[in-house]
Amino acid sequence: MSILEDTDAAAVAAAFVDARRAAGSPAMDMVMTMVIVVPEDVAEDALHAARDASKEHPSRRLGVILGSKRGPSRIDADIKAGSGTTGERALMRLTGEVVEHPESVVLPLLLPDSPVVVWWPTAAPEDPASDPLGRLGSRRITDAAQAPRARSKALLTQCHSYAPGNTDLAWTRITPWRALLATAMDDVEEKVRAISVSAEHVSPSADLLGAWLTDRLKAPVTRKRSRGPGITEVVLTTRSGDIRVSRKDGRLATLSVPGQPDRPVALRRRGIVELLTEELRRLDPDDVYAATVRRLRRDAARSQGAG
């Protein structure tokens, strides 16, 4: 690890090359650049998660801590590369006037040609696609469930500013639910007439799951409150009975389909590394997410109008 004080992007780039050379492998086999915009207190955790996800997608990881805008402009960086990890990383602390121009620090450090992913592990800009750092990315990942303030509104904010290439980890979290529900519906010929989703009070994932189901099944959705953890039950009502997935412990679910035996299904809540790994597997815009976001936005506007 090398530490650079009061530095600039060129010196960081040179430190990357030095570190690789010292490790005896100047080859670059990284497939993407990941920019992680993060507050100081969770920076190390976020970079570790990104490193572990990097096992599947070796990347250059650039952590950016935007500090106070006051005082003289200054960049401090610590750099790790080549020593037993895949890819390489730099954690850069910006203070002073440069905080207003973080893209000028990151731009020279992007890997040639390869995709750029920007991830906000906690607080995200209201419009990631027009954020100076967000603009550099082809993929922008937010996490409404980790928003430090106004968490119940965070997802809707992201929905309003949706642009192709945006995704939220709240959406990634429900992939196993969606896969299981789709599998359960494979054998069902009847139309679903009503949907209910039970989850803890604030759950952006439950909101997205409800919006997806109502969008695809063209049936009304009821959001119920439970003790959690996370989403606890989804019920799809048809004429011949309920298709039900219930998960009380965040781990093992029971699938019930009318006319079929109940079956246990592993449906564990996944950690951040698995979520990121899934997120990085496909780097093109997610059309199904876009449709779900549109639905959520429309339904929210309608319920507001009604209220």
């Binding site: 096992k55 896969a179 789709a182 093992l252 035996p261 079956r263």
Partner: protein, 506 residues
């Protein structure tokens, strides 16, 4: 399935999960079942790719109850699974584990199997869809297939499927391969027979097709104008271990060349398929295998050997004849090499050299495309003295990846050119934890997607190619000895030297 409103082809996060089904494994006490099949089933479940209610039935000659078998599966999974062991995934699987004790010719046992499967359809919702995995010696195939038929286990009622999975060897020559196929095809239609060649499930093997047909820069060079020859190698550093019973009398050519190496040749040499569905791929693979010919003089275009005692990797190891249960007069080859030609416009005049062996220098499987030398070198002769021919090497295992070898100026010299490697490591650019070949193949069986499984026509073609070589060798006495831990017998090197070439050291 198209009617399911929750499915959308654009929704690429949703994995292809197999529909309701179960799998019956014959020969659950074998190594393959314990080390590969059961762990692969668990890994699939852990990745959420198995349907809820998936059931696993074991069939073997053991006095076991369901829970005894469940314990065997549990231990096998704990020891050999690729992904982390999780209680909830095990809970999901364990509920569908059953065991049926019996012999392969025991009517009562097969009747119990029928009942068990019926029960699973009721209790677990497997809906009459079952795959029968024959992880047993081929001499029992006839018995098992016959009993499956007799007890109505192979019958597909409308809307259900029954599939059978077999492992190599698919016969030991053309005649026996046809016999085996007759047995199978009498009971199962061709599209329900899945022949496992686990090499075809490897990511790197599939990547040969991606590399060739998704890119612009390789395919223009992929012909006799630029390629001098192709070397396909599968080397093992181990001996035959405890597999004397299987290996002796079979040998390296039947064990490896007939299936793995000829499939690698087919993927390397075939023309572009019209699409990547199973049928189009099969048509192209079959076409290229049909164009494969053997040279007229087999004595000059083949080589075989048997390993003798020696030092391999710093360990003193016995020779083939000293291995347990090998007869003293065994003529089984543990090394086989041959030159093939592909008689079509693209490859005319480009030899394909295939080699495989046990107790060789190291464990490696690769396909090396060796290019011709540049027709003119505008440098002083000394400048290019150490310059070899360009090569593109697909490393199938281990250290999966692609190497490109080309000349480059040595820094600091006036003008001296030397070979360098440009390297793409699979593990470097993609997943460290790529799925095991068996995961992919078992999932494909359950999904009914056969692109990676060789059909009977391909098996027949490969025996057509190999049979004359085996007959030739049978008339020529003993194979030449080579010391364990080396790169094979001298006759193999001589075979390439006659063509003015040399084996790569892989």
């Amino acid at each position: 399935m198209s009617r399911n409103p929750l499915r959308d082809p654009n929704d690429r996060r949703l994995p292809a999960v197999a529909g309701p089904c179960g799998m019956v494994i014959f020969g659950v006490t074998g190594d393959l079942a314990r080390k590969k099949l059961m762990p692969a089933v668990y890994d699939l479940a852990n990745r959420g790719l198995l349907p809820p209610g998936f059931s696993l039935v074991g069939f073997a000659r053991r006095d076991w109850e369901d829970q005894d078998f469940a314990q065997v599966v549990h231990d096998a999974v704990k020891e050999h699974a690729r992904t982390e062991f999780r209680e909830e995934v095990w809970d999901q699987l364990a509920e569908g584990v059953r065991f049926v004790p019996g012999n392969f010719d025991d009517d009562e046992a097969f009747d119990r199997l029928r009942q068990t499967i019926h029960e699973l359809d009721e209790l677990r919702g497997t809906r009459g869809n079952h795959a029968f995995y024959l992880s047993i010696p081929p001499r029992f195939f006839g018995d098992v297939i016959g009993k499956l038929k007799k007890h109505g286990l192979a019958e597909e009622r409308p809307g259900t499927w029954r599939r059978v999975v077999i492992e190599k060897p698919f016969g030991h020559d053309l005649a026996s391969a046809r016999e085996l196929n007759d047995v199978l095809s009498e009971v199962f239609p061709a599209e329900s027979v899945f022949r496992i060649d686990h090499y075809l499930g490897k990511e790197t093997v599939q990547n040969i097709l991606a590399m060739r047909f998704a890119n612009m820069m390789f395919e223009p060079l992929w012909n006799s104008n630029y390629v001098d020859h192709v070397q396909i190698t599968m080397a093992e550093d181990i001996g035959i271990g405890g597999r004397a019973g299987y290996y002796d009398g079979i040998g390296a050519a039947r064990d490896v060349i007939q299936n793995h190496l000829l499939q690698l040749l087919a993927l390397t040499a075939m023309e572009e398929p019209t699409s990547f569905d199973a049928r189009s791929l099969r048509i192209e693979k079959l076409k290229v295998l049909e164009s494969v010919t053997l040279p007229r003089r087999l004595d000059r275009a083949t080589a075989r050997g048997q390993y003798a005692a020696g030092w391999a990797g710093g360990v003193k190891v016995p020779g083939y004849h000293e291995e347990p249960d090998i007869p003293a007069d065994s003529r089984t080859e543990t090394y086989a090499a041959l030159r093939l030609e592909v008689d079509n416009r693209r490859w005319s005049g480009v030899p394909f050299y295939l080699r495989t062996g046990k107790r060789l220098g190291r464990r490696v499987t690769e396909v090396a495309i060796q290019f011709k030398r540049a027709p003119h070198l505008p440098f002083r002769r000394e400048a290019t003295e150490t310059l070899g021919a360009n090569a593109l090497v697909v490393r199938v295992q281990p250290d999966e990846g692609v190497t490109l070898r080309f000349g480059s100026k040595v820094p600091g010299t006036h003008m001296e050119i030397r070979d360098v490697n440009m390297d793409f490591a699979y593990g470097g650019s993609f997943t460290e934890a790529s799925p095991e070949a068996y995961e992919r193949l078992i999932l494909d069986v359950l999904l009914g997607e056969p692109p990676l499984f060789p059909r009977h026509e391909e098996v027949e073609q490969s025996w057509r190619i190999l049979d004359p070589v085996m007959e030739h060798w049978a008339e020529r006495g003993k194979p030449e000895l080579y010391p364990a831990g080396t790169w094979g017998p001298a006759s193999s090197d001589a075979m390439l030297a006659r063509d003015g070439r040399a084996w790569r050291r892989p």
